[in-house]
């Protein structure tokens, strides 16, 4: 149960990164800050302005989407059109991430904050759970299904897949790459913001919230195959599960459970050694 909910959260956090990476061909290190941003926005609306919880989450997600879209429009799109190299794109995404993080630190302070929501426990049969975990599950499930439908059935979804596959060909067949990218970036940031809210509700709210899962999101992106939607789905659950198993092994070995994120690093390096294209490439060859 624990691994499944972690898997769900990782999935929400990573989907946007993987899709925008596949489409724009560079890793957006600022993606982690969208996660933090979403969480802080929800915190602001909920505890500072005293809004309804659903409304706050909704507003936070919309603002995250706006941030993602704006960072593409104002920073990465002009940089790309100036012919910036891959390394320049990466360094400016790191710059953006520091900018967002320290802006949040400035506004909300660097300390630990909490949503102060006490979740009642519900037991369904033998499983004891909380409404939060159920909400995470439901959100992930709805996101996965609706994204699946969007990517396979709608015109927009097909355009996204085509553009990620071969941008030149997609542009030649009349797909507006900028519009598609803008949409993907906003959607990805919205999902990241969502996952940030859940992450913060589950533990606590710190300015390093997103940075702490950066390693995991990149491990999932590479393991799943860059830009692959189904790859992310599978890889998030693999990581969620292996982290849980890993923690058991770690305590058995007498090591600190803090090494949890080192598991993601091991998976990342193993992927690079064995199959840099990720799960998606393996699946494609079989098909």
């Amino acid at each position: 149960m624990n691994s499944i909910t972690w898997g769900c959260m990782y999935m929400l956090a990573t989907l946007g990164l993987s899709l925008s990476y596949g489409l724009s061909r560079f890793p957006n290190f600022a993606h982690a800050e969208y996660i933090t941003f979403g969480a802080y926005m929800a915190f602001m609306f909920l505890t500072m302005f005293g809004l309804n919880i659903y409304l706050s989450i909704g507003l936070a997600v919309v603002l995250s989407a706006l941030l993602g879209g704006l960072s593409f429009l104002l920073l990465f799109k002009p940089l790309k059109s100036r012919g910036a190299s891959l390394i320049h794109l990466m360094i400016s995404s790191i710059g953006l991430s520091f900018l967002i993080r320290h802006f949040l630190m400035q506004v909300f302070g660097g300390g630990i904050q909490s949503f102060k929501i006490i979740w009642p426990t519900i037991s369904i049969g033998p499983i004891v759970t909380t409404p939060l975990l159920l909400a995470i599950l439901a959100t992930a499930l709805i996101t996965a299904i609706s994204l699946h439908i969007m990517l396979t059935k709608t015109k927009l979804g097909k355009a996204i897949r085509a553009a990620a596959d071969n941008p030149e060909l997609a542009a030649a067949s009349g797909i507006d790459l900028n519009r598609i990218s803008l949409f993907t970036w906003s959607l990805g940031a919205a999902l990241a913001g969502f996952s940030g809210i859940f992450l913060a509700m589950r533990s606590s709210l710190v300015p390093l919230l997103g940075w702490k899962v950066l390693l995991q999101t990149f491990a999932i992106t590479l393991l799943g195959g860059i830009g692959s939607f189904y790859g992310v789905l599978i890889a998030s659950f693999i990581l969620g599960l292996s982290e849980n198993i890993g923690v058991v092994i770690l305590t058995w070995l007498g090591l600190s459970a803090d090494y949890r994120s080192a598991i993601a690093f091991i998976i990342l390096v193993a992927t690079l050694i064995i199959k840099p294209e990720g799960i998606a490439a393996v699946a494609r060859r079989r098909a």
Binding site: A84, L86, I91, S92, F103, Q106, D258, A262, F265, V269
Partner: protein, 320 residues
């Protein structure tokens, strides 16, 4: 630091240490196009190896040599899986390496003092009976002799045939391999050398400030070093040093502002935000940095001809 002279000397020493880091990144990024986003990991390894060795009463020379060795070995091991792939894979792996290294140091209290770090590292050169200021000057002399040595080494490398191969790899890997150069081998060598220099810088850092803790090695350090190279001018060693001085000066002065003015902003946040904005502006408007790379006229011409020929060949391969 009430005495402005001490503050200045301290800043000069810091700029020297960061100058070494900046030169090493310049060798990796400026000349060979390797995106090492984990500079802080190697810096940290160097500092911690020195700290641990000196707590075991080994002399500085031995501990710095070991620091260089360990940093370069870790550099080789972690870069091996990624150097055959595109730059972004190296970047992701290195940024993760920095986090994992910090994790190990925070948790292994028996080895590295955990979150408290290690203190009481003796300086490399101990001359009895010196004032605080004179000791600072001795430190600066030590740091700058290492900096000059690193600078000369890198200049020698990039001006040699070896350096021309590196620049060819940067421009076009395929071109380098058509000349029969083992691109992978060159990249690993450059990475090992860059890591070794970062390790040495870490070693100097540890003996200079006398104490190390995990909180000194945040990812912002990596970003600062990148800032120095990008601002100063990639593929120009003097530019890298100039960048180190400018960024250090900028950060120091923003810290000074905090002492004299009452700002509504937290100075650390302000400093990082300004640095980030500056990086983005430089990447936008002057990606070649303040000091441009010096290209000999014939090198440029030959390169242009070869590249155009290669493009023809490539398009032929593509068509067939």
């Amino acid at each position: 630091m009430a005495d402005p002279l001490m503050y200045l000397l301290d800043a000069i020493a810091y700029a020297g240490i960061f100058g070494i880091l900046s030169i090493s990144l310049n060798l990796e990024y400026g000349y060979t196009n390797l995106a090492n986003f984990g500079k802080v990991a190697f810096f940290m390894i160097g500092a911690y190896v020195t700290a641990i060795m000196s707590s075991l009463k080994y002399p500085f020379i031995a501990s710095s040599l070991l620091a260089i060795l360990i940093a370069s070995v870790i550099g080789i091991l972690t870069s091996l899986p990624t150097l055959r792939l595109k730059e972004d894979f190296l970047a992701i792996t290195m940024i993760s390496l920095g986090e994992v290294m910090k994790l190990i140091i925070k948790n292994e209290t028996w080895l590295a003092g955990g979150v408290w770090g290690i203190s009481g590292i003796p300086p490399a050169i101990v001359i009895p009976g010196l004032t605080f200021r004179d000791r600072l000057i001795v430190q600066i002399a030590l740091i700058y002799s290492v900096l000059i040595a690193c600078f000369l080494l890198c200049e020698l490398i990039v001006k040699s045939p070896y350096g021309r191969v590196l620049k060819t790899i940067r421009e076009d890997e395929l071109l380098a391999s058509t000349y029969g150069k083992n691109v992978f081998k060159y990249k690993v060598q450059v990475f090992a050398l860059g890591s070794a220099m970062s390790g040495l810088a870490g070693s100097l850092f540890a003996q200079y400030i006398g104490t190390v803790s995990p909180y000194m090695f945040e990812p912002t350090v990596t970003f600062t070093i990148w800032m120095m190279v990008i601002l100063g001018g990639p593929a120009n060693n003097l530019g890298a040093i100039l960048g180190a001085f400018m960024v250090e000066g900028f950060q120091r002065s923003s810290r000074l502002i905090k002492d004299y003015f009452n700002l509504p902003l937290d100075p650390v946040n302000l400093q990082v935000m300004l640095t980030a904005i500056l990086v983005i502006i430089v990447v936008f408007y002057r990606p070649q940095g303040l000091l441009k790379e010096k290209i000999k006229p014939y090198e440029g011409k030959i390169h242009k001809i070869i590249t155009s020929k290669l493009m023809e060949v490539k398009s032929w391969i593509h068509r067939s």
